[in-house]
C-alpha cells in the first residue's frame, strides 16, 4: 500500500521542529562560519569586505601575528593532549578495575565517590582548585609546609602549571572514563577467565590476553573522546593559570576566542576555529577507521 501524501506530510511534521533547530543552530552556523572566515570581519564594524583565503594564508605565513597565535596555541594544546590522554586512559581503567575488584556491596558506593567531581561545572571545579593551589593559603602548600617541605608555585611556575592543569583535569573528568570502562569490563564473558584459570594463567596474562583485547573497541572510544576533550581544553587554563606563566598554558581555544572577542578579529578567528575543527575531525575519522578496520578483519 502506497502511503498517501497526507500521511507522508503528517509523518514529516513530527521531525520538523527538531530539523528546524538543527538547520538554524548547526547547519547555518557551519556555513556562516565559512562565510565569515572569507571576510575581514571586524566585530564592531558594519563593513565586512571579502578577502578570499587571506585569513587562512595569514595563519600559515611564517612570522605573522596570526601564525604565532595559532601555532603557539596549538603547541600548548598538543602538549596538554600528550600529557593528559595517557593518564586519563590508564587511570580510568585502573580505577574501573579497582572498583570491580571490590566486594559487590561496596562497588556502588565507591563508584559514586569517584564519579561525583564529573557532575560539577567547569567553574565550580576551577574555583575549588584555585583555593587548593593558592600559593600562600592553599591547602596543598599548607600541607607541604606542615610536612616540612617547600611551597610550590602551583599555578605560576613551570612545569607546575601543567602539573596543576593535569591534576584538575584528572580529578574532574576521570569518572567518565571509569564508568565506560566498568561497563566494558562487565561485558567480558566470565568463562574466558575461568578457562584461562584452568590453564593456569596469571592475573597479569589474563589482563593482557583476555581483558585488553576484549575491551579494545571501548579503549578506542575512550582514547578518542579523551583526545577530543583534551584538545578542546579551555576552562582549566582560562580560570586557573590564566594562560600563564607567561604564555605557557595559553592553549589554542583561548587564543582563538581572545582573537575574536578581545581583538575583535572574528574573520581571522573563524579561520583558526575551522582549522582546529578540521584537526579534531581528522582525529575522529582516524579512530573511526581503526574501529571499522577491526570489524572488517573479524
Amino acid at each position: 500500500m502506497k502511503p498517501t501524501l497526507k500521511s507522508r506530510i503528517s509523518s514529516s511534521l513530527f521531525a520538523l521542529p527538531y530539523t528546524l533547530c538543527f538547520a538554524a543552530f548547526l547547519l547555518f552556523p557551519i556555513c556562516y562560519g565559512f562565510y565569515i572566515s572569507l571576510h575581514d570581519f571586524e566585530l564592531l564594524s558594519k563593513e565586512h569586505p571579502f578577502v578570499g583565503l587571506s585569513n587562512y594564508i595569514a595563519i600559515f605565513t611564517p612570522n605573522s601575528y596570526e601564525n604565532a597565535l595559532f601555532f603557539r596555541g596549538l603547541w600548548a594544546t598538543i602538549q596538554f593532549v600528550i600529557f593528559s590522554v595517557p593518564l586519563l586512559i590508564i587511570a580510568g581503567l585502573a580505577i574501573a578495575m579497582l572498583v570491580n575488584a571490590l566486594p559487590s556491596k561496596l562497588r556502588g558506593l565507591f563508584r559514586t565517590f569517584y564519579f561525583i567531581p564529573y557532575a560539577l561545572s567547569a567553574s565550580v571545579m576551577a574555583v575549588i582548585w584555585l583555593m587548593m593551589f593558592d600559593t600562600n593559603a592553599g591547602f596543598l602548600n599548607s600541607m607541604l609546609q606542615k610536612l616540612g617541605g617547600q611551597s610550590i608555585p602551583w599555578l605560576t611556575g613551570t612545569p607546575w602549571a601543567w602539573v596543576s592543569l593535569i591534576i584538575t583535569t584528572l580529578w574532574w573528568t576521570i569518572g567518565f572514563n571509569m564508568i565506560i570502562f566498568i561497563n566494558a569490563l562487565n561485558q567480558v564473558p566470565e568463562d574466558y577467565y575461568e578457562a584461562a584459570s584452568i590453564d593456569g594463567a596469571s592475573s597479569w596474562s589474563k589482563f593482557i590476553y583476555i581483558t585488553l583485547p576484549t575491551i579494545r573497541p571501548v579503549m578506542l572510544f575512550v582514547m578518542i573522546t579523551s583526545t577530543i576533550a583534551s584538545f578542546n581544553i579551555y576552562a582549566q587554563p582560562f580560570l586557573l593559570t590564566r594562560g600563564g606563566p607567561g604564555d605557557t598554558t595559553r592553549v589554542l581555544l583561548i587564543n582563538v576566542l581572545d582573537h575574536a572577542f578581545i581583538r575583535k578579529e572574528v574573520g581571522s578567528a573563524s579561520a583558526m576555529a575551522i582549522i582546529m575543527a578540521l584537526i579534531i575531525i581528522i582525529i575522529s575519522l582516524v579512530q573511526y577507521r581503526l574501529t571499522y578496520g577491526r570489524k572488517e578483519g573479524n
Binding site: 514529516s12 530539523t19 567518565f176
Partner: protein
C-alpha cells in the same frame, strides 16, 4: 592471602575516595569560615568559629552587588525550559525516524543527524555568536537555550529505544482508531519514561553546567548564568575572599549534586549509551 589482598584493595579504594572528595569537603569547610580564617593557611577542616554569614550575605546579594539568586534562577530556568524543549522535539523526531516509514527525507536526515555527532563545538561557536548577535538576541534566554536544541544525541538515544519498542502495541492503538499523534503521546511516550528521564537528567546537567557559551552569550549582570557568574567572581573582586567565594560555589554546585545523587543511575545509563553508538 586472599583476605589480605581484599583488605589492601579496600584501603586503596578508601584512600582514593579521600583524595577525590577532599576538595569538595574543603570547599564546604572553607565556606563556613570567615575570610580571615580562610586565608590563614591552616588545614583545619572544622572551622574555629563556624559562621553561615557567607551564605546569608551571598544569598541576599549584599556581596559586591552580585545578584547570585538571579543567576541561579537564570540557570535553573534555562536548564528546565531547554530540557523540556529538547525532550519534546527530540522524541518527536526520533519517533518519526524510527517508526513513521513514510516520513519525507527520512534516510538523508537520519544520516545528517548521525554525522553531526562528529562536529566539534568550536566549528559553530563563533558563527553562532554572530548569528545571535545579528538577531539582537545576545543577553536573552533565547541565546542561552536555543543552541542546545540542535544537538543530535537525544534524537539518537531515543531512536535506539523506539526502534526496539514492540510494534504490536502501536498496531492495537491504530486499530482502535488512534492517529499518529495520539499513538505518540498516549502510547509511546508513557512507555518511555525511563529513557526520557535519562535524557532529561543528562540534558539538564549539560545546560546548567555549560561554561564557555554562556560566558560570551550573556554578559549583562542580570543575564549571567551561575556557572559563568562564579567563574567571573573568581577572577575579579572575589579573588582571595575564599570564604565568600566557597559559599557561592557550594550554592552553585548544590542543584547538580542533588540531581546527580538522585539520578545517578540514569546519568550513568546516558553516558554508557553514548559509548555504544
Amino acid at each position: 592471602m586472599h583476605k589480605l589482598r581484599k583488605a589492601l584493595l579496600i584501603i586503596v579504594a578508601i584512600l582514593l575516595a579521600a583524595v577525590m572528595l577532599l576538595p569538595l569537603v574543603w570547599m564546604i569547610s572553607t565556606s563556613l569560615k570567615n575570610d580571615f580564617e580562610a586565608l590563614a593557611g591552616q588545614m583545619n577542616f572544622i572551622p574555629k568559629k563556624p559562621t553561615i554569614d557567607n551564605y546569608i550575605q551571598g544569598l541576599n546579594g549584599e556581596l559586591m552587588n552580585v545578584p547570585i539568586m538571579r543567576w541561579i534562577t537564570n540557570s535553573l530556568s534555562i536548564g528546565i525550559i531547554g530540557t523540556g524543549i529538547i525532550l519534546l522535539i527530540d522524541s518527536m523526531a526520533a519517533y518519526a525516524l524510527a517508526r513513521l516509514q513514510d516520513m519525507m527525507f527520512r534516510k538523508i536526515l537520519f544520516s545528517m543527524f548521525i554525522a553531526s555527532l562528529m562536529i566539534p563545538g568550536v566549528l559553530t561557536f563563533l558563527p553562532m555568536y554572530m548569528e545571535f548577535n545579528g538577531l539582537g538576541l545576545i543577553n536573552t534566554y533565547a541565546a542561552l537555550i536555543l543552541p542546545y536544541t540542535a544537538g543530535a544525541f537525544g534524537v539518537f538515544l531515543l531512536y535506539q529505544f523506539f526502534i526496539s519498542f514492540p510494534k504490536e502495541i502501536e498496531e492495537a492503538a491504530r486499530i482502535d482508531g488512534a492517529n499518529k499523534w495520539q499513538i505518540y503521546s498516549r502510547v509511546v511516550l508513557p512507555s518511555s519514561v525511563s529513557i526520557m528521564v535519562t535524557l532529561g537528567i543528562f540534558t539538564f546537567m549539560g545546560i546548567y553546567n555549560d561554561f564557555v557559551w554562556p560566558l560570551y552569550a550573556a554578559t549583562s549582570p542580570d543575564m549571567r548564568t551561575i556557572t559563568a557568574g562564579i567563574a567571573l567572581m573568581s577572577q575579579g573582586s572575589y579573588t582571595q575572599a575564599y570564604g565568600k567565594l566557597m559559599a557561592m560555589t557550594t550554592i552553585a554546585a548544590l542543584p547538580v549534586l542533588i540531581i546527580f545523587m538522585i539520578g545517578q543511575r540514569f546519568f550513568v545509563k546516558a553516558i554508557i549509551q553514548s559509548a555504544v553508538k
